[in-house]
């Protein structure tokens, strides 16, 4: 191996690496002063800052790399950050970490040491860590890691002198961290075949090869020549043998090593207790306390706020008072008086008119509901609750044969099913992707739909409970059955949990306003198009024919034939269909049982057009059409069964 700290152009190089927001730039500015240059890294659009400094009479060039979370890059910035480490031949690599999140950031330190880079660990923002009661034994960490470690709060100039001294005194030391025996054996199988000269340690390259890193594959191909094929074959064997949990095992092993390293290094101040956020975080992920907490979030956040306030108070005001009592009568009267053409009157203020249906549904019914839903959603999201929810439901997912990673698209599906369908591509096996797509299509209502359904059902005692029970039951049943039909491996799940915090009003406001803007730009036009199609269908008789065709189905569900129109428009957007049900209910056309049956069936019914198109793009025509048919058949079968059950038992 060539030395990593050789001089380049008379100046030794100091490279700063670390996650975003750990104070890298502050360290860079403190070391270099005012004279720095910012330019794109050659061949990329990623900016890299360079500056100079003199320490103990020696001149250094300092490079501030873009934020990176791991040596295995995902983004362009991380790729550039890694290229700098590979190509710039640093004298010292300063890994800047946030003292408060040492456990989360230390795995990257392990990766850097493993790669044979000349690492110096800078535990920054230590003042904040101390303020919350943490005590970090820097000397012990230095000893355990085998590299120089400096504790600092560079923003306050604390530790800067020690950092400069550590750079001046830097002498590369080697430390090795052992993984579990089986993993070590596999690393050995790959490194045993590597004989080329590399700047990085073969052990680190082998691990990256096993994780399918394309750049490292090219590097090894160039370094090994004819031997490369044999190495690739060995890597393929290892990857195949460990196809279920390779990435997870490596991450968990690094976590285990870090836990051991931090044992005795980080402690809480005497008498200090874990912060409230930490205790709450643990409670949200423990099934015994997490489920009641989830129910509380659902009850106050969604049922009371969205259902009670949004769908009750605000909709009553906008729809019941402003539209029904003032705007609609005025618009209809004006058109009756001034527009002689029946078709145009129907188009604007008719039964399915652009104003009387499209604008009224969008502005007076759905907007207040999704608006309040977006506020609640943004608050929950900003508190960091969703990753914890993912951990909480992971156990259930394992039962139904899904990788815990599928929790992510499922939770995201509550925001938008369309995007969540795209995210299913991150799942490791085809089986999991199909299963997750099916469940998303069937039983995960998107934010807009869930808001409207909540609003619709919150006025009928017991209806919401039946809706939730039906959806949960179907989700679990279909998941279990599908897992039986499509057996396969069940990979494990691992994810980093970000800190929990109080939602910031600014974030909640911005997220809510941004989503409202999205709603108006993307959903509102769809409502208008649906209104025009319904109007055209009414005038041409096609809608009447379709309603007649669906009448027997509606009859089987115990629903009046007018409900068919809500199902037809529900195909465009399910929330639009739900607004149709709202209209029918307020006009007294639906009993509590009928309302519940219609809401459950509509929720399970085919997804919106956008989701279907994305599903086709991701899974192909064949799978999409099968899912479409299965979901439609299931939705109506469940509706039929639920109607019978509710009538027999008299629950509602």
């Amino acid at each position: 191996m060539t030395p990593l700290h050789k001089e380049f152009g008379g100046e030794k190089k100091i490279v700063l690496v670390g996650c975003p927001n750990v104070g890298k730039s502050v360290v860079f500015n403190s070391l270099t002063g005012a004279y720095t240059t910012v330019s794109n890294y050659p061949g990329t659009s990623v900016e890299v800052s360079r500056g100079h400094c003199q320490i103990a009479g020696e001149q250094y060039q300092v490079l501030d790399t873009p934020g990176m979370y791991s040596l295995l890059p995902i983004t362009e910035e991380e790729r550039v950050g890694r290229r700098i480490l590979f190509e710039e031949d640093p004298h010292v690599v300063i890994h800047v970490v946030d003292a408060r999140n040492l456990e989360r950031m230390l795995p990257m330190t392990i990766q850097l040491i493993e790669a044979g880079l000349p690492v110096l660990l800078l535990v920054n923002i230590i003042d904040e860590a101390e303020r919350i009661g943490m005590r970090i034994d820097i000397a012990l960490l230095d000893e355990k890691l085998g590299i120089p470690v400096v504790g600092a709060a560079i923003g306050r100039k604390r530790g800067l002198r020690e950092l400069r001294q550590a750079i001046a005194d830097y002498r590369p030391r080697r430390a090795t961290f052992s993984y579990a025996a089986d993993l070590e054996r596999d690393i050995q199988r790959v490194t045993g075949l590597m004989h080329g000269k590399y700047r990085l340690e073969c052990r680190s390259l082998a691990l990256m090869l096993m994780q399918r890193d394309e750049e490292v594959q090219k590097m090894v191909l160039a370094g090994e020549g004819e031997r490369a094929a044999g190495i690739a074959e060995m890597v393929n064997i290892v990857v195949f043998e460990r196809r279920v949990d390779l990435h997870l095992r490596i991450s968990l092993e690094r976590k285990r090593i870090c836990k051991g390293l931090l044992d005795g290094v980080v402690s809480l101040r005497e008498g200090g207790r874990p912060a409230f956020a930490e205790r709450l975080s643990a409670l949200t992920m423990n099934p015994w306390t997490g489920v009641p907490l989830l129910l509380l979030v659902l009850y106050f956040g969604l049922y009371k706020f969205v259902g009670g306030f949004g769908a009750g108070t605000v909709v009553d005001l906008l729809e019941g008072t402003i539209f029904e009592e003032h705007l609609n009568p005025w618009a209809i009267a004006w058109f009756e008086q001034h527009v002689p053409w029946y078709w145009l009157r129907e188009l604007v203020v008719g039964e399915y008119g652009l104003f009387t249906l499209g604008v009224r549904y969008a502005v007076a019914i759905i907007l207040p509901i999704v608006g309040t839903f977006f506020i609640a959603f943004a608050m929950i999201e900003d508190s960091g609750y969703f990753p914890r929810l993912a951990m909480l439901v992971d156990r259930v997912f394992k039962r139904i044969g899904l990788n815990g990673r599928a929790v992510i698209p499922m939770v995201l599906g509550f925001g938008c099913d369309t995007m969540a369908t795209v995210v299913t591509r991150t799942l490791e096996t085809v089986r999991e992707r199909i299963l997750a797509t099916l469940l998303l299509t069937l039983a995960i209502p998107c934010s807009a739909q869930m808001g409207v359904i909540l609003g619709l059902l919150s006025g009928v005692p017991g209806a919401l409970a039946v809706w939730i029970a039906s959806l949960t039951g179907i989700f679990l049943l279909v998941g279990l059955l599908a897992a039986r039909v499509m057996p396969g491996e069940r990979p494990m799940f691992y994810m980093e949990i970000p800190p929990m915090r109080l939602p910031q009003p600014r974030n909640v406001l911005v997220k809510t306003l941004t989503r409202m803007q999205w709603y108006f730009l993307e959903i509102f036009p769809l409502f208008m198009i649906a209104s025009v199609l319904l109007w055209a269908g009414k005038l041409s008789g096609a809608l009447g024919w379709l309603v007649d065709v669906m009448q027997p189905v509606m009859h089987l569900l115990g629903l009046p034939k007018e409900t068919a129109a809500a199902f037809i428009i529900g195909f465009f957007r399910r929330d639009f269909g739900a607004a149709g049900l709202y209209d029918l209910q307020t006009n007294g056309l639906l009993s509590p049982v009928q309302l519940t049956v219609a809401a459950v069936t509509l929720t399970l019914f085919v997804p919106c057009v956008a989701q279907f198109l994305v599903m086709k793009k991701e899974r192909g025509w064949k799978v999409s059409l099968i899912i479409f048919v299965v979901v439609t058949a299931l939705a109506f079968s469940v509706g039929f069964g639920l109607n019978r059950l509710l009538l027999v038992t008299g629950i509602l």
């Binding site: 996650c19 975003p20 927001n21 659009s45 934020g67 979370y69 995902i74 983004t75 362009e76 910035e77 999201e381 900003d382 960091g384 969703f386 990753p387 992510i408 698209p409 939770v411 995201l412 925001g415 938008c416 369309t418 995007m419 369908t421 795209v422 995210v423 991150t426 994810m495 980093e496 970000p498 800190p499 600014r506 406001l509 911005v510 997220k511 306003l513 941004t514 989503r515 803007q517 999205w518 730009l521 993307e522 036009p525 956008a610 989701q611 198109l613 994305v614 793009k617």
Partner: protein, 58 residues
């Protein structure tokens, strides 16, 4: 800005990366490369408004 799901830092450059194609008039969301979450991009208007308010308060 940070991803609202996994808290990884996101950059505006990521907006140019592939969207799901479902949005009319182009993508206005950053799809987090780490977890897939779609993060709404804050419109310039809101951003300016909030910055102005913050300045005035100072």
């Amino acid at each position: 800005m940070k991803c609202t799901f996994c808290e990884h830092e996101l950059t505006p450059e990521m907006l140019r990366e592939e969207g799901c194609g479902a949005c009319m008039g182009g993508c206005r969301k950053i799809h987090c490369p780490y977890c897939g979450q779609e993060n709404p991009v804050v419109p310039e208007f809101f951003d300016k408004l909030i910055k102005r308010n913050t300045r005035e308060r100072k």
